[in-house]
Amino acid sequence: MSNLFNQFWPYTIDGLSLGAIYALMALGYTMVYGVLRLINFAHSEIFMIGTFAVLGTLHLFGMPTNVSGFALVGLLIVLALVGGAASGGSAVILEYVAYRPLRRHGASRLAALISAIGASLFLQQLFARLVVPAAFDLPKEKGALPVQGHFVQKSNVIHIGSFELSNDRLIVIVGAVLMMLLLDVFVERTKLGRGIRATAQDPETAVLMGVNIDRIVTATFAIGGAMAGVAAALYMLRFEETRYDVGFLLGIKAFTAAVLGGIGNLRGALVGGVLLGLFEMYGSAIFGSEWQNVVAFSVLVLVLMFRPTGILGESLQQARA
């Protein structure tokens, strides 16, 4: 306990920056669930693809080293665009290949779930066996793929007493909040956003109202994927390393965050993500770092037991996304 009190601010900042990444990924899960009632297990691989796209871009343009200040923000915007495009694109392709045929044939939700798991495994192994060795000129190594050298100059931006805030954590938190505000505005104000909310509320009536379901679904996957892509860029900024299975643990935690906040609820994803990040950090401070995952999944169990609809409860359709 004393550990937590002495180091309260570092743990809180770490929890917030971890939670920011969870929140962005949780958006993907929550949006797809809200519109299709499908848990997209392959979303974790969408994130992984985003990290590889960012890694590839960095390598392609020669590894910049020790970037800081405004150049860093600029670089990050570029990486976020690349990651968002790669992840969003993969999500759309994924939907087209793995879920749309099932929807066409009116298959049960269970079939779609199985397809999701299959897609997830397929993408993981595709990257492990083919893409990584081919693109990065490594033997069929299943290990971590570190970005060579530092590309970010990590430094403390704010330093008040024992309160330290490093630039990368600050960027992660600010970046995630910005993206969520953007998404909020998009879903509230634009026509496509209205269409998404309508489809989430009642697909059949939405069709009667002239909403093109297929386009809505594609847009949902694209946006959810793009959010995961931005999360991937922020992740690469923080950890400068990726693996073929980097999505696995993060995906489960992000899903937990989505459930915690209220699945189908966009603001719930933010709340859930941040809370989960904080719980994990505080839990590891009190019990020891190896209990971090235990804390995260205990939260999931407790939420499902006592408040299955999540903290914010309401769903995407309740016009308060």
Binding site: A144, P146, H150, E240, V246, L249, G288
Partner: protein, 385 residues
């Protein structure tokens, strides 16, 4: 009619098969002896298994080149470091391939599962890299290893931290694995006995965010940090520690003795870190002329420098070769020979205690410099700048 015909046909086939398959026992009848090598040859940690395999191949090829009466063949078994893959391979090796001995398994986890199978099949084994101390406590008669166990390694590194580094506060981190945890605890016990205060934390092997551990290290402000685990995690850990502003010296054990450590930490971040190992990697012959001769031959044959456990793999093969040279070609006779062997190897004196442990117990320390890991010296007397 049809049934009788089928019965007759199958009887003929069975008789034919037994006549053909009548190979004599364990390669003793022919003029080749098969020695197996088992370990993770294509998986995540193959970087520390391929060097001993190549070194064993080198030793056997050198022997076969002398045109002996009984040649040796090396047969490799890729277990990917996993017990569930290793056990069926071991069974196949004993019953189908009739190996006379096994070099390996490479890792402690798979050894715990495979060694009972070998014991039952009465096939001798020498591991070049499985360091878990518990392996020697089962009373196995056919098991040997040519690398000092983690208790010895832990005591050696712990002694180095306390005596040479004179650290008064040591932060111990491990990865909760069957290898890392007991190893870290041995180091902790050693430095505590020497009067240092310690604090412990564990990391999750699958996770990437060690900020919780970094915060604890910062709060403790140690003189030295020891990590029991593998290089993939060690590299990340060093990186996050340095980013968090922790300047204390980082130490780890044989699982981190790989270039992947520096790569994971990035650039020169890992420079100055000390990695201990009961293994000897000595291409310049600092410890003795034999290691330089071996390193040169290895480089000539494989085009790469010797790496972790290659000297030990070479010595394991040498032990089997010596047994065959002395006229022992069955597993039983080879095992008896191994209990009395006493010859000089390139990594240490090849001699086993009754339990199968090597009698030589030196621990060596290496210092990270760029992406190289040059030998600093013996843990008992090496000095660090």
């Amino acid at each position: 009619m049809k049934l009788t015909g089928a019965v007759a046909l199958s009887t003929m086939l069975a008789l034919g098969a037994s006549a053909c398959g009548g190979d004599s026992d364990s390669g003793g009848g022919g003029d080749t002896v098969t020695i197996g090598f088992m370990g993770d040859l294509t998986g995540e940690n193959s970087g520390i298994v391929i060097p001993p395999k190549q070194a064993a191949q080198l030793a056997i090829d050198e022997y076969n080149a002398t045109k002996p009466k009984v040649k040796i063949t090396l047969k490799t078994y890729d277990s990917q470091g996993k017990g569930e893959q290793a056990v069926p391979l071991a069974k196949q090796a004993i019953t189908k391939d009739k190996i006379a001995g096994l070099i390996g398994p490479a890792f402690s986890g798979e050894s715990a599962q495979v060694d009972p199978v070998l014991e039952e099949g009465k096939v001798p084994s020498i591991s070049a890299s499985a360091t878990n101390a518990a392996l020697a406590t089962h009373g196995w008669k056919y098991w040997h290893r040519l690398i000092a166990n983690d208790n010895v390694q832990g005591a050696g590194i712990g002694g180095f931290i306390a005596t040479q580094l004179k650290a008064k506060k040591v932060f111990i981190i491990h990865d909760s694995s069957e290898y890392g945890k007991p190893f870290a605890e041995t180091v902790k016990a050693t430095v505590t006995k020497a009067g240092a205060t310690t604090s412990t934390d564990a990391i999750d092997v699958q996770g990437s965010d060690y900020s919780s551990t970094v915060n604890k290290v910062k709060a403790f402000a140690p003189d030295a940090i020891f990590f029991g685990g593998y290089y993939a995690q060690a590299g990340k850990l060093i990186k996050q520690l340095r980013e968090g502003g922790v300047k204390a010296r980082f130490l780890s054990g044989d699982g981190s003795l790989d270039k992947g450590l520096a790569a994971g930490a990035g650039g020169t971040t890992a420079d100055g870190s000390i990695i201990g190992c009961p293994c000897l990697i000595d291409p310049s012959g600092t410890a003795g002329a034999a290691s330089k001769k071996f390193a040169d031959a290895y480089k000539a044959k494989f085009g790469a420098d010797t790496a972790i456990y290659s000297a030990e793999g070479y010595d394991a093969a040498t032990a089997f070769i010596a047994a065959v040279k002395a006229g022992n070609t069955t597993p039983e006779k080879i095992n008896t020979y191994l209990s009395t062997i006493d010859i000089a190897g390139v990594s240490k004196q090849i001699k086993f205690s009754p339990a199968g442990e090597p009698t030589a117990t030196d621990v060596y320390v290496y210092q990270v410099k760029g992406d190289q890991l040059p030998l600093l010296g013996n843990s008992k007397n090496a000095t660090v700048k």
